[in-house]
Amino acid sequence: MTAIRIELTVNGRPRSVPVEAHHTLLEALRDDLGLTGTKECCLVGECGACTVIVDGVSVDSCLMLAAEADGAAITTVEGLAGTDGVDRVQRAFLATGAAQCGFCIPGQLMSARALLAITAHPTKAEVEEGLAGNLCRCAGYEQIIEAVLLAADEPDAGDGTSEPAEPAP
């Protein structure tokens, strides 16, 4: 096993992390950086619980080697919050009751944010497709979809949800 050092910008903060060459971005975030908001479930890119945004693109962090993320800017659920503690997507999830057990919610939020960055005012069908890679076994999809549509209707409070995450400065 070989450790290598990678440079990341995580939620706006520069991080220099030694990682095992075979470890995934998910392992680097959870185990090396202690950012456990990103969840681990299927490890084969099917459930979406580990979704993060890498240079503006939503990614299953269980399928990306940490080394591949060297130099990237990464947004995790811990980096979503605006100045008032939650952004409009998080606020909408709370308002519609979308978070039940909550385990899939970080991934749902990241996919929602990635969707809204590309499509500011999605249709219901576009939300369903945009979140199709995020399983929810509480099966609260109806309220999750409502939340994304609600968030899209809210003015962007300058918390970045209308823009993809910026690459590292």
């Binding site: 099917e46 009751g97 057990c101 076994r137």
Partner: protein
């Protein structure tokens, strides 16, 4: 009710902020210094005799600390289980199902543990095994369970763990009545898995002269008893931390690998952690499969005359709580109907498969699939509208529809009629579609015990101790709503503490949709206890007789004056401060003569109506319209009620349309994991989903509430299947209604003629 009512509203979910910010710490998110990582070792066969285990190569891996096998555990092997003590901590001499752990490697890193687990060499001899009802019942079948585990049991030398017989009236005499129409069918329900998005996770650590366990478990107090018993410790020396589970659905009710990590932590003298992979959770929990034969006699006008049900549930290699799901699930196989004579025989049948356990609906979805499908076939044969057939027979409130049990506790016809109205039952079905309706009933808890301690602090804020596991149903929010209203505190000033057996009083379990009724009542009574103390306090402060003081719903009234509880308490506690402590208890004792050990605390009742379209070329079912209506007594939190009902509906669509565990001839699960085992995604939803409730405040819980959360799952499959029959004429008696199965049924029913290439209509 006074102003400021939180009950009946939908305040922000307690724990909601943590859930949307990533701060919610599930077991796998906890980091204990110096913890060892555990990886399980299992065999790629179902049943095998373990000849030898060689750990030397594993122990040579840098970082591997030790390997635990059966030889490292007490002899005889410690066993546990909620019904029978039949599950060994590790496979003892023989494996009984695919994935059963035979050893466990502890190492400094997960990488080292995984590498070590790959290198543990197990010499074994594969043995004959049974994976089906027919195979298990064959007289020549190998026995799954050692008969010595059930001494004196006449069934011990068979694979039938238990037979359950219920009924009333004389079915044979009833069947002799001339002119009855008999409708018969056998309906199968496959093995499906809970698939909580949070894989089960466990941590154990020595804790002073005892042990601490962290588990994503629904029943922390039950786990405490299991660990105390296995380690010969007093209960007070076993501390169970139960952080909010990331989905439970029944699969996290009972102990699985907690005993193993407990033994390993004591051996290591330091914390150990085991986080299952999703594949391992598939090999840890599932729902019992079933084959249910239903024979029903109807009078020509549609009235039920008798029903005879024989249900075979294929449970797994160890009993877990599966036999109880069989006994309780089949008990209501008469349905929510007035039936003069009913005979039910249900068997829990052991097999060399993943131990089945509780799963939302607790044995009922299987029999409801059969009984409600049978009702629909009867409607077709009798020429009676399926809605009318149900309305004709459904029990009225107060009817002793199951003699000796709780009478019908709701106006169930109102629920059915509401669902029918919402789907537009009496309007023409749109061209190309079919409609179906079905109903589901589940008996609530038969016994129960919950305690709560509520502390009103000197500034009027409140700490509620309530041991319910908040696994998505929003239990803590409900308790906070009750306390806010009863004690007049702002909702934001309530903290609800759960998940620590050293701090929170005993709660029997989080299951059976019981927590609003049982723990909710305990919280309510604890608040009433505080109100009584505040009453004394107010009488003392105001120098009046206690009889002149009324305390209710957050306010203290003395004559014409109204005082806030918080102001009275602030004055009453004085300079020393302190708090007012209330205790509450809700108990429903066992009734030894009752076949289930107790009557139903309440019933869950749901009516589901759907419209479907069936693609004749692919067999694919789409659902343009879906309606679910539950009788909840009183919705304590309508937003959460909706989330539970719609979630249950979509989960039900999983086993209805796509989910099944597939086994090969050697008893190995072939679709292990998220790629090959499909559950509903956001692309599988009905186009229009509507949910509604019936509220008549006729439940036993706080403010007239009943339990809910499982009801909306119960009738999903028969409602969809009835709609498929309505659309195509095809009658399908096996789940799931996968495209392949529907496609074949269309050809067999003649709805679609000819070979695949000629399909279409």
């Amino acid at each position: 009710m006074t102003t400021d009512d939180h009950v009946g509203g939908s305040p922000a979910r307690v724990g909601g902020i943590d859930r949307v910010t990533g701060r919610q710490a599930y077991v796998a998110d906890l980091r204990l210094d110096d913890a060892l990582f555990v990886k399980l070792v299992s065999l790629d066969v179902a049943r095998a005799r373990i000849v030898a285990i060689d750990s030397s190569a594993a122990l040579a891996v840098p970082g591997v600390r030790f390997v635990t096998t059966a030889a490292d555990l007490p002899d005889p092997m410690p066993r546990f289980g909620p019904q029978f003590r039949d599950r060994p901590v590790l496979a003892a001499g023989e494996t009984h199902f695919h994935g059963e752990a035979v050893a466990a490697v502890a190492a400094d890193t997960l990488d080292a543990a995984e590498e070590g687990a790959r290198l543990v060499r197990v010499e074994y001899e594969e043995l004959a095994a049974v994976f089906t009802v027919a195979g298990a019942l064959d007289l020549a079948a190998p026995l799954v369970q050692d008969p010595a585990l059930r001494p004196g049991d006449p069934l011990a030398n068979s694979n039938v763990l238990r037979e359950h017989r219920y009924g009333w009236g004389d079915v044979d005499a009833a069947a002799a009545e001339p002119g009855l129409v008999v409708v018969e069918g056998t309906y199968s329900f496959p093995m499906v898995t809970q698939f909580a998005i949070e894989p089960h996770a466990y941590i154990a650590a020595p804790d002073g002269d005892g042990i601490a366990i962290w588990s994503s478990i629904q029943h922390p107090n039950w786990l405490q008893k299991v660990i105390a018993s296995l380690l010969h410790l007093p209960l007070a020396k076993v501390r169970v931390f139960a952080p909010d589970p990331g989905g439970g659905f029944g699969g996290k009710q009972h102990a699985k690998f907690e005993p193993l990590v407990a033994f390993m932590a004591l051996r290591a003298g330091r914390p150990v952690r085991l986080v299952l992979t999703l594949e391992e959770t598939f090999q840890a929990v599932r729902r019992g499969a079933s084959e249910v034969r239903v024979r029903t006699g109807f009078r020509p006008d549609g009235r039920l005359a008798w029903r005879d049900v024989e249900a075979n549930y294929l449970i797994g290699a160890y009993a877990d709580i599966a036999d109880r799901t069989v006994g309780k699930g089949s008990y209501t196989a008469g349905g929510p109907y007035r039936t003069p004579a009913v005979r039910i025989l249900a068997r829990s049948i052991l097999s060399h498969t993943t131990p089945s356990t509780a799963f939302r609906g607790f044995g009922n979805p299987q029999q409801i699939w059969a009984v409600e499908s049978n009702m629909d076939e009867a409607a077709g044969i009798l020429g009676i509208d399926p809605l009318q057939l149900r309305l004709l027979n459904v029990a009225d409130r107060g009817d002793a529809f199951i003699p000796g049990d709780t009478p019908a506790d709701g106006r169930w016809s109102e629920t059915i009629e509401k669902a029918a109205e919402m789907i537009g039952w009496n309007t023409p079905t749109p061209a190309g579609r079919g409609r179906g309706i079905a109903i589901g009933l589940k008996s609530g808890p038969t016994t129960g015990l919950s305690y709560s301690t509520v502390r009103l602090l000197s500034d009027g804020s409140v700490i509620v101790h309530a041991g319910t596991s908040d696994m998505g149903q929003g239990a803590r929010t409900i308790f906070a709503q009750i306390a806010a209203d009863e004690l007049g505190a702002p909702f934001e000033w309530i903290t609800v503490v759960s998940g620590d057996t050293a701090v929170v009083p005993y709660d029997q379990q989080t299951s059976a949709s019981r927590s609003s009724v049982f723990m909710g009542t305990a919280v309510l009574r604890a608040c009433h206890d505080i109100q009584a103390k505040v009453r004394s306090m107010a009488a003392r402060l105001e120098s009046v007789d206690e009889a002149e003081v009324v305390v209710e719903r957050g306010a203290v009234r003395i004559g014409e004056r109204t005082l806030a509880i918080r102001d009275v308490v602030k004055r009453g506690l004085g300079r020393l401060g302190g708090e007012v402590i209330g205790v509450g208890e809700m108990r429903k004792d066992a009734e030894p003569d009752h076949p289930l050990g107790g009557t139903a605390a309440f019933y869950e009742f749901n009516a589901t109506a759907v419209e479907v379209e069936v693609d004749r070329e692919t067999g694919d079912i789409s659902i343009p319209r879906y309606v679910t209506v539950s009788d909840v007594g009183k919705a304590l939190n309508p937003l959460q009620v909706r989330g539970q009902d719609e979630g249950a509906a979509v989960m039900g669509l999983g086993h209805t349309l796509m989910e099944q565990m597939i086994w090969d001839d050697g008893g190995r699960i072939r679709n292990l994991g998220a790629i090959d085992y499909r559950i509903p995604t956001s692309m599988d939803l009905p186009t229009e989903m509507a949910s509604d409730i019936v509220e008549n405040a006729d439940g036993p819980g706080p403010y007239g509430s009943k339990g809910m959360s499982e009801g909306a799952l119960l009738p999903v499959a028969p409602a969809v299947a009835a709609a498929v029959t309505d659309a195509t004429g095809a009658v399908i008696r096996d789940l799931p209604l996968s495209p392949e199965r529907v496609w074949r049924a269309l050809r067999e029913s003649g709805d679609v003629a000819g070979a695949p290439g000629e399909a279409g209509s």
